[in-house]
Point group: C2
Chain length 108, copies 2
Amino acid sequence: MKPIAQSDDEAKTVALLRAIAHPARFRIVKLLAARDTCVCGDLVDALPLAQSTVSEHLKVLKDAGIIRGTISGPNTCYCLEPAALAWLEREFGALGSACCGAPGGPLA
Amino acid sequence: MKPIAQSDDEAKTVALLRAIAHPARFRIVKLLAARDTCVCGDLVDALPLAQSTVSEHLKVLKDAGIIRGTISGPNTCYCLEPAALAWLEREFGALGSACCGAPGGPLA
DNA sequence: GCAGAATATCGTATATTTCCGATGGACAAG
DNA sequence: CTTGTCCATCGGAAATATACGATATTCTGC
């Protein structure tokens, strides 16, 4: 594929966004954010999806660096990776501050 | 499709994220943020994509409410929609503050 | 070792996305 | 009215993503 992204930072940001930009995965992230304690396969019960599907979504989020998985005996616990969320928050802050202030450009 | 999103707000957020979570579209948003003045089809020159493809991406962003298009004589000018960026920034702020503070959960 | 529970991975069908060339519509200049 | 420019839209091909059931894998407890 042709390289569209200008910098590595940009590619990283897009990768993070692609991981979160899915109904099921975004819901997982919100669930993990709600309970400050890490939860495990309760996520499967909380979502209308098959176990294997949830597992795949967790893998996507883990590969993107948004969540962290810890094996704890028979089950695996997941929790958010604060650095990733902070990165995205900072990225949007930079975008939001610079914005076309002109009312309508050519209309003025 | 089964409704995974819990609330309308959540669905809206995911829709915005899906629109931005693409190399070409994210680049477009950054380009529009860089020049505070609205640009037009210069975007086609700035991207290694066909004109029709860029136009489609602009349509996706416009439908999502992230950018606004204004017809100005022979050409169309686009600029960011500040409200959309602010929404996302706020959404990530809420996620970032609530986060698993426990070092490792079961490891402690 | 064996059985069972909790996850991960594999194979695969389906749906969606992405991209392009070609076509169409609107506008300005001549 | 004709031409050229700019942009949007229309098929359609190829790549990718999503979801599932079936099948490993890993650990606990007996």
